[in-house]
Each structure stands twice: as structure tokens, then as C-alpha cells.
Symmetry: D2
Subunit: 303 residues, 4 copies
């Protein structure tokens, strides 16, 4: 399908269910996709950090995209992460994901190699040029250890290199600077701005973001869909209450070493996926930790 | 070939010459291998950071290992980097490098995924178990953003997981702690300890390191071979003088944004490789920058 | 005066006007206090980072507190920073400020000495015990390089150690966690929570903060008073517009190396203080930079 | 006394013994000074980080300098730290220390205030100009969170601003760059270069440093005097053995949260000071931790 001019709403980063042997559990994956689509989300983001893309081999990554796009048949836009260290390797992943049916590509700045600003700029320009697909910059300094910066993002948007931004930084001021500038310039009015911070959807939408990519949205997509609708209706007090409920549920990421492991445990407890397996070398949750996740689900009315 | 029980001396991280189109220039690569072997180095390390492994696609990585091991025919031990984000992906690279003839594997802790100490421990254990090859931990916090820590390294050495350590951290105290402890424990006396700091070979060997993996050794392998021999002979004042000469030459890494670009410019100026091309999205050196590299080579008596 | 049970609204961190010789310019300081009080602010914070407290000698600090409290005569609550490295030194500053008329003390965690969590806890407990005054934790990781953490803040609030928090961190999640927990616990409902982020007043108040300590509030206190009133009235769209106007004005902090220098240049341009002098070793603004500040003031309708 | 043109050898940073009430224990302090002087050290550094200068009030700092210089009567050169956030405050401390008899001043870059390179440069120039005393730059990024950088240090040395450098950074390359450049330029041949790393005295002296400022030198000054003499005699293998013995003793800093607390516990166990009290809010050592310190002393032949 073609991406909408400006993507918005709830676009969960889809967890990648694994078998106990560490292979992609395609049956669970399609059930998870149904669970999300059925809740009314606006798009899906596969092969992001929450999807454990960093742990998946190349064939596994391809299986994920094919399974999701094949199952959806164009019912929802699908963005795919192309997570790797440098331009040549990211291009390989992007081409593979597009061939498997993805509608747009999400890529970080180069990492491991300590790039400077000129290299980050060149990286995104080469990616756009050589893949020809809508390109979203993934701003995730906790993993990538650099930040593109508001000025660079706005320049790449103005030059038609970037279709959008997925901001998972903790730099509020940078995000607000991008939003305010983008909304003020007719030439880049269609630039999509998504936040990855699942606990700040109300404030992000208040200041003008288009939508959210919430890891926790795997577990409670209905909550996020409600939250976005309350914001759209200008009911900020109710939105705050819904956001605070989700903030309570989000405490599950602090239960264990792996926040993704907690999401998967919750998805298994809710009967959506078959196994809570997480990829090596992450540590599986203990029984106690699973118990704590269960309590948080119960408190949130999800179990 | 089989690795010696304890590897030592000069083991340069081999640059990967590229054609102007960005493909591996195998002719230049074999000439570079001859240049290094001819200078009397003790082994080669391919697909490390200096080799631009992070920028090479999987087929290019395989070409590098095959070209080098094929050309050497066992004349020198060859270590290969298996640089990727997580255990499953590193295992794929390691298997490919071993199949192509590498004698040992060099791997960092997981990166991008913010691993804790338990995950780093598990990562190295799984790598050793599933590849069956001598495994060297690559401690490079500037790229990886964590550090294994002296205690973990020593435990993995004692458990037979690690054959050695390549230390490119700036943590002198950690390195000295590992060396002192390893030399004092009979069970791990064969643990190989290499420094990646090309400007501290004299001090590293004084405190008990086995050898050095100097990026600058591509450009001046004879200098590093001389330096290591002076240290072995206990001639610390002459060693210091040689090290200071190499420190002056090392200034080339500050000439341009890319230190690797400077090494390649120097190798081309010395007639060893055909092109100074560096991988995308790195910025090629300007003519002025190449001129400065040439001056440093002249000052060091290499041009 | 006695502090209100819960302080809120606009509490600017008062700039410290200096003579060209670097002494406190008390005439300009009282005019600045009148300018702020006249705009309807709810309290003043002297000797904070924006006040250049780190640059003032002990007698100068005392002059500042005496001048402000003497001039106000109890018309507004006055918080005073006690900025120093460790408990014994902070206690000295706190006692001096209280003797000079301050109503409450604002203190950071120890810095320079790399304190652990237990030391930070002990620091605040000793400060409260030995000064007997309302104590506000100043969370400013960019200067202090540690963070108290939500759990510690909540424990100190519950134990009656802290009267409030001034959050100038970039840790949104930490702030929201503190606010949500504090509002839910009857025992600490009076805990004052202020944000130091002048570009996020609307979102901070939406999620439940009590007020703001805006450096830029020196320059445009009327704007911040308007903004806080719009939020109180639930007019979030108008609040956003006012906040975006102030965001444009805030660009002055990027005009020169010293954001405080820009505030002072603006105050002099608006005729409120006599000199834009900033303390050594900060670099004074160039004429060009002052010109850019003037343009931003004009654009904001303040000149 | 006048400082020697180039200071060198062992210059311990003198611990500040405290009474149980937290006041300076001048009796213990003079005994500690005798212990150090009697071991043959070459100078003393008071009010540094190891002296808990950051925790001492202004009158306590003055007491320390007066006690030490009064007791020594010029028998050894005394450097004094002037540890505070900014130029005006550092000048106050420096003047006080010089009035109390210090022979030179040791100062860091500004901290808390996030200074840029131009501000750090200006800071040291103003300090030299306004105190008129020999000035040593204290490079301690773990406390100060910036680094002057080799180029700035060399420029300030060449301009006669700095008499020397105390390097407690972990930046080996920076230190070696400064040493190599300073030794090569006749105009700054008298520039004193001291390392603060007590576990790298052999390597620092091998590469050309003048001396060491070892915190552990409070506990075992004889060891450091021996080590420096072995290095001066070119007996690098014996020097390494002595350094490794001291490295084993240095493990005491990892016994408890406070390394200084461990030094003080050791000094009390050795009968040199009366109390192991450390300043607030640091945590005193537990009995178990003191026991571990005792074992390390015994192992090193000091108890």
C-alpha cells in the first residue's frame, strides 16, 4: 500500500514472537498482528528495537516482514526497521524489507563507528537515494550514542530526504523545536513526527506530534487507541488519566532486566502469543518476575 | 594453522583496500598482506574496526578472509573480527570467517542493545560453545559503550571461554589488573593479552602485555616490529624513542575526520594499495589533508 | 514570611546584575525584583544557576539575599540556592541565606565528589536536620552529574525531609513518576513540584506540576504569568501558542556561549538593569550577538 | 620556600585527619606530615581531592595549610589545592592558602558551570595573573567533567601561565602528547608534569613524567619513594615488581564506597592518625571493611 501523506495515531513496534528454539513463531506473530489491527491501530512498525531486530538474523528479519505484510494484505501501512551499523549494510536490509512488502523504512544514524554530523547527513541522503522508499529517521541515542539534531532533521525534511521522524530520544527540546519549525513551514507540513515515548503521548500530541510508536502498545493497544482519540478530541484531563493508567502498566519494564521480556510475558499471559522466549543473550524472566507482570496486568484490568 | 598457545608481538589490524566503487580490492589487499608479512609481523587481524568491518557487507567480509588466508597459506596466524550487535548475528559471522580459513575469532560485547554484565558473560560463553574456535574478547568501549571489566574477563579466561583479550579501552587500570592477575595464576598463564593502543606499546609490554594490534602498523610495520624487539631486549630508552617517533606519525589520525582514511592515504602514497577509497558514509580526505599525511610520512622517513 | 503549603505558579530564578567591576549591582537588582513582582509572579528563587551563584563569593551571595528580601519585605516568598560541593559547605551557605531572610533552601546533590545513592540520601537528611528550613531538592544532572531518582525523592518527601523538588533534569519519565506518585499519596500531597524547563510549562502543568522556575522569566515574566493562567484555565491550545512564542524567544540562549549573558543583554536592552556584565571567566557577548538578542526581543514584541 | 624549577619525585596528596566531630585533627595531621617527610617524599600536596578539600569549610581549609606549613618550616615544598567552581571563588581560596604559607596553587577547570575551552583558558590566565603564584593545572575529568586538552595545556605552559600539570585523567594519549611536546621545546623544559595515577608510576616515569601524587602514598610512602628511585636508576623490572605490590595494596579503594575512608582506616591501623573519620555525607567503613583493609596491609608487609 502507499503510505498516507502524513502518518499518525498509534503505530506499535511489533514484538517478534520466538519459538523456544529461537526461531520466528509465525503463528503467534499473525495472532499478534490481528490483536493490534483489531484494536484499531493506524499502522505497524516491524523490525524495530522492541521487535528485537538487533538479535534477528537476516533470514529471520525477512520472515518477519513477509509474514506481517502477507497477513495484512495492505490493510495497514507497515514500516520496517533497517537496523545496522553503516550505510552499505543498512541498504541491504532496506532492500530486503521493501522486497518483502514493507511500505517505508526506519533507520538510525550509523553506530559503532562514531560518525560526525556530515557523515550522518550523508548516510540518510544515500539511504533515500538508493532505496527510493519513504525514509523515517529513528532517533534513539540510548542505542546509537549520537543524535541527528533538530537542524539536520529539518534540513533533510526540507530536501525531501526524510518522510518522517521517530523520536525515541529524551531530548524534549529537540523534539519540540522540530515540531514547531515543521508546522510553521508549508514545504514540510507533511513531515510525519512520531514519538517513541509511551508515557508521554498526551504531552507529545498536545505539542503537535502526529502519533506514537508505543512498545507497551503490544500489550494494551486498546489503551493507546483510546488515549490518542481523547487527545484528538481535546479532552486533556481524560487523556491524562488514561496515560497515567498506562504509566502504571509500563512499570513492567522495570520488573526484569529485559523490558521486551516483560512485554512478551504479558502477551503470553494474555493468550496472544505461545512463548515468552526472548533472543540470546538476554536473560529470560524468572517465575517471580512473570508473577509481577501478571499483577500489573490485573491492576490495569487486562487479565 | 593452529594458533600458538600464547600469541604475541605485532598483529596489525589489516586495512581493507576498496575500489573506487566500494568493492574489496583483492589485488591491493594481497600486496598489503605481503608488506606486513615482509616486515616480520607475528600475525594478522582482519575484519576489525580498522578494517572497516562495520561497513562491509557479508559477502565482502567473506572475500576479505578468503583472500588473506588463501594468500598466506598458513604462513601467519589470522584472527578475524565477527562484528555485530548480538549473539545470533555474531555467530553467523564467526562461522563464515572460520569456514573461510580464520584461525580465531575476535568479538565485542553486544552493542546497540545495552546489555548488562550477565548478558555479556552469556554472550561470550555462547560464542565459544557454538563456534568451537579460539575466542578473543575485543574491549572497545568507544564503539560498544560497555566494558566487560577485569573480573569478568578473568573468570571467562579461567573457565576456558576466552583464549585472549584485545584491549582497546582507555582503562589502564583494568588492563593492568587483568595482566597482573593472569600472570599470577598458573591456570591462565596462556591467556593472550594484546593492546590496541599503538602509542603505548612500550608501556604495555613493560607491564606484561603479549603484543600489540596497531592500526598504524599498516603504514609502518617495520617500526612496530623494531619497537617490540627493543622492548623484548629490555632496551626501554630506545623503545621509548621509537615509540615517540611512531607517536609523531600517529598524528595523521587527527588530520581528517577519518583516521582510517589517513592510513589508507598513507598506504597509497607509499605505493602499497591502489586507491585510498573509504567506505560510505565516511568523508574522503581532501587534497590538503592528503598533503599533510604526506608530510608526516616524510618526517618519519617513510616517503 | 512563611512559605505556602504548596508553592506554585511562576517563580523566576533571579539574575544577579553585576557592575562592570564584577560586584553585585544592588540598584539594578531591586529594579529587576520590581519588574518581576509587578508582572505577578508567585515567588522568587535567588542564588540558583541562572543567578550565577556558582560565580559569586560568599559576601556577594549574602548581599543578594539581603537586597532581595529587604526590598520585598515579605511581599513574596523567596527561595535561596545553597550551591556547593558537599554537606558541610552547603550548610554554611544555607545558614547564611536563612539569616539574610530567605524562606526556603534549594540544594543539589553533592558534586565533584561522585556520591553514591546512600550519600545523596544522607546529604539531604543532614541538610534538613541542621538548617531546620523548608528544603527543595534541585535536580540538575547537567551540572551535578548524578540524579537523585524518583524513588529517593519520594522517600525523602514521605519522611518530611524535602518540602519540594525543582526538576531541571531532562528525565521526563522521572518527573512524571514523581508527580503521579506524589498526587496519589495523601501523606505527601503538599509536596511542591516545580519544573525548571521554560519550554515545557504547558506540558508540565498538564501532567500535574505546580509551577515553573523559568530563567527566561527574567526577560518576559508577563509571558510566563499569562502561560500559567491559561493552563490553570484549561485553555491548552492558547497555552501552547504562548509557549511556542516563548520558545522562539528562548532561542536567545543559543546566540552566544552564555545563555545567562543573553538574558542579561536582554534585560539591559529592555532598560531593567544597567550592565550586562557576566561573571568571570564567562565570555561577554559580542556586539553582533547583542544585536541578535535585540532582534528576538523585537520579534517577541518586547522591544 | 621557593619551588624548585621542576618539581618531581613523590608528592603525596595529604589526607586531612578529622576528629569524630568533623573538625581538623591537627595533632594527627602533623604526625602524618612527619610520617611522609620521614619516608623521603619530595613535597606535599594539601587540599586536593584525597584531602577531602571539597568537604572542608573555608576556616578548616586554612587550618590545614597553616598546620602543615607551620610544622614543616620550609623543609619541603607545599602545594595547595584551591578547589571551587569558578574563577572568583578559586581566587579567594588561592589567596587564603598563599597567605597561610603554600608555595604553589593547584586548580581545576571551572566545574558545575559547563565551561567551554575559551572559558577554561581564561580561567587559568586570570588565576595566574591575580594570585602571582606558581599555578598547576589539575586535570581530573571524573570530578570536573571537562578536560583542558593537550594543546591548551601546552599553550598555557608556553605563555608562562602554568608552572605544571597534575594529570589525574585516564587520557594516556593526552598525557604522553603533553610530555613529548614539553620535552622537545626548550622554552618549556621546566614545565612540571606529575601523574595522579598511583598504579602507573613506572610507566609514567618511563615516558618522561617528573613525579607522582599518589593518594596511596599516605599509607605507604616508603613504597613510592623506592619505586621512584628504581625508575630513576633504570631498573624497570624491579620497578614493575614494586608497582605491582602497590597495585595489590591499592585494592583497598574498592573495599568500601569511599577510597579515602580506606586510606584513613589504614593510617589509623598503622597508628599514624587517631581517627578514621571521613567527612559528611560519606559513609564510614563498616568493621568488616576495616578488617579487609587490615588484611591488605598485612599482605603488603605494613602491619
Amino acid at each position: 500500500m502507499t503510505l498516507p501523506a502524513r502518518l499518525g495515531g498509534v503505530i506499535p513496534p511489533v514484538c517478534t514472537p520466538l519459538t523456544p528454539e529461537g526461531e520466528v513463531d509465525t503463528g503467534s506473530l499473525t495472532r499478534l498482528v490481528d490483536h493490534l489491527a483489531g484494536a484499531g491501530v493506524d499502522g505497524l512498525f516491524v523490525l524495530g528495537s522492541t521487535s528485537e531486530a538487533a538479535f534477528l538474523t537476516d533470514p529471520q528479519r525477512r520472515t518477519v516482514v513477509e509474514t506481517v505484510t502477507g497477513h495484512l494484505g495492505g490493510a495497514l501501512p507497515v514500516l520496517a526497521g533497517a537496523i545496522d551499523m553503516t550505510t552499505p549494510r543498512v541498504i541491504e536490509h532496506a532492500r530486503s524489507a521493501l522486497a518483502a512488502g514493507a511500505d517505508g523504512i526506519v533507520a538510525t544514524a550509523p553506530f559503532y563507528t562514531r560518525p560526525g554530523p556530515a557523515e550522518i547527513d550523508r548516510h540518510f541522503r544515500l539511504l533515500a537515494e538508493r532505496t527510493g522508499a519513504p525514509l523515517f529517521a529513528y532517533d534513539l541515542p540510548s542505542a546509537v550514542h549520537t543524535k541527528p539534531g533538530a537542524e539536520l532533521i529539518l534540513r533533510l525534511a526540507a530536501d525531501g530526504v526524510l518522510a518522517g521522524l521517530k523520536d525515541s530520544s529524551e531530548d524534549q527540546l529537540g523534539l519540540r523545536t522540530v515540531i514547531t519549525a515543521a508546522r510553521a513551514r508549508p514545504a514540510i507540513r507533511d513531515f510525519t513526527i512520531l514519538t517513541g515515548s509511551e508515557s508521554f503521548v498526551d504531552t507529545a500530541l498536545l505539542i503537535g506530534a502526529d502519533g506514537v510508536v508505543p512498545g507497551l502498545g503490544n500489550v494494551d493497544p486498546h489503551g493507546y487507541v483510546r488515549l490518542v482519540r481523547l487527545c484528538a478530541a481535546g479532552d486533556w484531563q481524560q487523556a491524562r488519566a488514561e496515560q497515567e493508567r498506562l504509566l502504571g502498566l509500563f512499570a513492567m519494564v522495570r520488573v526484569a532486566a529485559s523490558g521486551i521480556g516483560a512485554f512478551k510475558a504479558a502477551l503470553r499471559l494474555r493468550g496472544i502469543i505461545d512463548h515468552a522466549t526472548i533472543a540470546e543473550p538476554q536473560q529470560p524472566l524468572t517465575e517471580d518476575e512473570v508473577e509481577q507482570v501478571a499483577k500489573l496486568l490485573t491492576a490495569a484490568g487486562l487479565l
